[in-house]
């Protein structure tokens, strides 16, 4: 069997494992919701008492409200255990698939959309698993695995191209740095996006939004408070933003080498700039009175949609210097 085919098989295997993880995470969220229905009033009370005592109000209110029930519920969370192990398995399979892809092509395995999708998904999973080593973020699992299954499946079905070398413009160590860091940033932005979406949903449910008060959204009571989700999202976005800044600077240095100008408002450059400005606006919004909290979270959503568009739309719709999806025969390869 060819190495390239083995790589594809492993990626399919990873997609399967992640799908199982997704189902298990969903079951876990549902189960916890059922426990939660009875416990809801009780878990709220300690926080209220803590605030009233005036001793340690802030830690009590910033601590995820769900945490209190974690220990008690731990023995019954078999689904979550299965989900975590299959996520580890799927991530490992994906990693091996990516490495084999690199061996088959004889270069860094992130030079076209298919590979970018795989490595970006891997990064999102790695960030999620890395966080899970330090604290309980399993509530994010269903969404992170859901998104990555979607991405990997899209990659396999839509973006797939055979493993091969790259055109002269891409033969540079900046391919490793610029694109590698861009993928890291995308992976981190993905997890931060999930946190911000959950923050908005939970906040709306707490605020009594009629749609979100339906029984189908009970699982939202199990995710941490909007405040702590906001904090999580910010910490991730801060790292992502610094990496994105490096991506843009690295890209400019590379463009100076390869294309003879560091900035030329190529569609990809325009959208990278837009993403940078949106996340910069997010960081400013967080510290602007009246724009923090919910409004700031919307910047994360818009920013992430821009990231997705920059990857898909800009590569496929616009004809720029970054059109390296390898899906069509583009004439840029010659000159």
């Amino acid at each position: 069997m060819q190495i390239a085919e083995l790589s594809v098989l492993l990626v399919w295997g990873a997609a399967t494992a992640l799908t199982i993880a997704l189902v298990a995470f969903a079951i876990d969220l549902g189960r916890r919701t059922e426990e939660r229905v009875d416990a809801r009033a009780e878990t709220r009370t300690p926080a209220a008492v803590g605030a009233a005592s005036g001793q340690t109000p802030a830690p009590a209110s910033t601590r995820p409200a769900g945490e209190a029930g974690v220990d008690a519920a731990a023995p019954r969370r078999r689904a979550a255990g299965i989900a975590m192990s299959t996520t580890w398995l799927g991530t490992a399979l994906l990693l091996v698939g990516i490495v084999l892809r690199g061996i088959a092509a004889g270069r860094t395995p992130w030079a076209n959309m298919y590979e970018f999708t795989l490595v970006g998904s891997f990064m999102a999973l790695a960030v999620f698993l890395g966080m899970s080593l330090r604290k309980d973020v399993r509530y994010l699992g269903a969404f992170v695995t859901g998104l990555t299954v979607l991405f990997v499946a899209l990659g396999l079905n839509v973006f797939y191209v055979a493993a091969t070398g790259v055109q002269p413009a891409l033969q540079n160590y900046w391919l490793v740095l610029h694109v590698g860091v861009a993928i890291c940033a995308t992976g981190i932005f993905t997890v931060a996006f999930v946190a911000s979406v959950l923050q908005l949903l939970r906040d709306s449910r707490d605020g009594g939004a009629p749609y979100l008060l339906r029984p189908g959204f009970r699982w939202l009571d199990r995710v941490p408070t909007p405040t702590s989700l906001e904090g999580l999202s910010f910490r991730l976005n801060a790292v992502g933003f610094v990496l994105w800044t490096f991506t843009i600077i690295g890209g400019a240095i590379w463009a100076e080498h390869a294309w003879g100008r560091y900035w030329g408002w190529d569609p990809k450059e325009v959208w990278s700039f837009v993403i940078w400005v949106v996340y910069a606006a997010y960081l400013h919004a967080r510290t602007t009175r009246g724009w923090d909290g919910r409004r700031a979270a919307w910047f994360v959503i818009v920013g992430y949609l821009c990231v997705l568009f920059n990857f898909t739309g800009v590569n496929l719709i616009f004809n720029g210097k970054h059109s390296y999806s390898g899906l069509e025969t583009d004439a840029t390869g010659g000159a």
Binding site: P168, G260, V277, G290, T329, A331
Partner: protein
């Protein structure tokens, strides 16, 4: 209240700035920075209005609006064709959408990034930035010499607290915690620490206190980031003014000199000095290309190398090479390999047998197989002859189908073939009007046709001479087909500054986002328990700027530095409640993080 002492932009929401030493963080509603309502405007007077406008412009809210506007305004440039990148596409768009295109053009939508509205947004943004950053820099320069704020009276409302009892004396406690907070480096302390004492107050006996603050670099990084952005803008603008850029097509064995007249196109900034054109010359010795021949990536480009000889102004010669990702630097100017193709050597004799045209004609590649299009414009040299235009394709590896059509199947010259159509008439060569050498307007010309009325297609192979139809003469293709390269020479003295400021911005950003800014206070006093033994109480409080997950850990670590903690005895049931609560809290916080 010294509201003026520390500068902060209108509308910033920052507990750390607002949290005063003698009180816990103020609620947002209690903040002093309520923006003046619009209803106050008429009474402000012109000076007041100016001040109000300036305060608004430099406020966080307006900066945020401008950032959002900037993001939105950048988008059309990626959707619509831009003159600076593809002028031909703009013309095509204008042709396809006459009315809409005209209006878009009027509002600068085809030059978005140099348009008035885009410039207005970023200039306003930078004015806002200057108005915000300069006072902040001054304030920060002052704050850098500040001592940590006085220990607050009550610790209750702070986001991170801890308390314990110890057998060590308050003096020992204070000394140990202060030492821990300062860290191991004397010259570079982690915290700036003040140790103090307080008189009996609020039912407490006399106490010893520690006030400590760390993370001054956070604001420094923030300011460096914003100032670097300013520097970046100035460098880019200077580069635009001083740069020049020339493009030349050079065939193998030929060269060009770095002079304005030798370039096919040349553009320059407003402050361009002709003296910055270093008078060197360059010859293209050979051009190599490699293409994949495997089935997976058939005919994909793998490598382009131009072998050149550079003659320096002082006469010294050196051989060098230019590749796609590695430009050649000569006297501060960079020469890039931007394109390549074939420039077949074509000779045309007219109907009278006179030499009418001889030269290398660059054919522009139109696809990955290097199916290349080119034009030969032949003047009328002999009396009674017409001007002749040859239009056609050069195919590096030609395959001629049975129906006579030909196509290229590989980009390397394995079986070169020239396919030409012949036009005669007035090509406009005598009008003196500059023409595009790669285009021939055939509308007013007469094509040569065969018996069926089809346009005649001449097939010419290297070394062959083929008669032109209608007695127009003959065309000869030279045995060797030279390659050409499209070179792009660029000189921009601001590059080093652009890079420096970019990296400064990156460093400042990382420092400002990842340096924790924290204050820690400790209070310690001595009481006697029921048995008359001395018990030392220790209380700690922490405050952080922005979102800081590690604050409680910092406070806990400071508490852990207190000596004699092991001897905490739950002697007093009343006190157990509070002191017992905390360690449990800390443990959970620590594992969470």
């Amino acid at each position: 209240m010294s509201e003026k002492a520390t500068y902060r932009p209108e509308g910033i929401n920052d507990a750390f700035v607002e949290g005063r030493a003698d009180d816990a963080p103020a609620a947002p509603e209690a903040g002093p920075g309520k923006p003046p309502g619009g209803a106050n405007l008429p009474t402000l007077g012109w000076r007041g209005t100016l001040r109000w406008t300036w305060r608004q412009l430099t406020s966080m809210r307006v900066a945020l609006m401008l950032l959002m506007l900037l993001a939105v305004a950048a988008v059309p440039g990626s959707v619509l064709p831009q003159r600076s990148q593809d002028a031909a596409a703009v013309l095509e768009y204008l042709g396809d959408h006459p009315t809409l295109g005209e209006w878009l053009d009027r509002f600068g939508f085809f030059e978005v990034y140099s348009s008035v509205w885009f410039s207005a947004i970023y200039i306003l943004l930078f004015v806002s930035l200057v108005g915000c950053i300069v006072p902040r820099t001054v304030a920060h320069a002052r704050a850098l010499r500040n001592r940590p704020p006085r220990t607050p009276v009550r610790f209750g409302r702070f986001p991170a607290t801890a308390q314990a009892r110890t057998t060590a004396s308050p003096d020992e406690v204070v000394e140990a915690v202060a030492g821990h907070l300062r860290g191991p480096l004397r010259r570079l302390p982690t915290f700036r620490v003040d140790v103090g004492a307080e008189e009996p107050r609020l039912g407490r006996p006399a106490t010893r206190t520690v006030a400590a603050e760390r993370g001054y670099l956070r604001e420094t990084g923030n300011l460096v980031f914003h100032l670097a952005l300013l520097g970046l803008l100035v460098s880019v603008a200077l580069g635009q003014l001083l740069h020049y850029r020339g493009q030349a097509i050079v065939t193998e064995g030929r060269g060009f000199a770095n002079a304005v007249v030798d370039y096919d196109t040349f553009d320059k900034g407003a402050w361009f000095q002709p003296s910055s054109l270093s008078p060197f010359s360059m010859t293209l010795d050979a051009f190599d290309s490699e293409f994949a021949s495997d089935t997976v990536a058939f005919a994909q480009a793998r490598d382009f190398t131009a072998h050149v000889t550079v003659t320096e102004p002082d006469g010294g010669q050196q051989a060098d090479q230019i590749k796609v990702n590695s430009p050649l630097t000569v006297d501060g100017a960079k020469i890039y390999l931007q394109g390549n193709g074939f420039a077949p050597e074509i000779t045309v004799e007219d109907g009278a047998g006179e030499l009418a045209f001889s030269g290398r004609v660059p054919f522009l590649p139109e696809d990955t197989m290097y199916t290349s299009r080119g034009v030969v414009k032949v003047p009328d040299v002999s009396e009674g002859q017409e001007q002749v235009g040859l239009v056609g394709y050069f195919l590096p590896t030609a395959v001629v189908e049975e129906d006579g059509s030909a196509r290229s199947v590989f980009p390397q010259p394995q079986n070169p073939l020239l396919v030409l159509e012949v036009y005669r008439g007035d090509l406009g060569l005598d009008d003196g009007v500059p023409q595009n050498v790669y285009r021939l307007d055939t509308a007013s010309l007469t094509p040569s046709v065969d018996e069926d009325g089809q346009t005649t297609k001449l097939l010419v192979r290297p070394g062959e001479t083929v008669e032109l139809p209608d007695g127009l003469g003959s065309v000869t293709l030279d045995e060797d087909v030279p390659r050409y390269v499209a070179l792009d020479l660029r000189y921009d003295p601001s590059l080093a500054w652009v890079l420096t400021f970019s990296l400064l911005a990156l460093a400042g950003l990382a420092v400002s986002l990842f340096t924790p800014r924290r204050r820690v206070w400790v209070r310690s006093w001595e009481t006697a328990d029921e048995d008359g033994r001395a018990v030392t109480h220790v209380e700690l409080a922490g405050l952080a700027r922005g979102d800081d997950a590690g604050l409680q850990r910092e406070v806990d670590k400071a508490l852990a530095a207190v000596p004699g903690l092991d001897d905490v005895t739950p002697a007093d049931p009343g006190a157990v409640d509070t002191s017992d609560d905390d360690p449990a809290d800390h443990q959970r916080t620590a594992t969470e993080d």
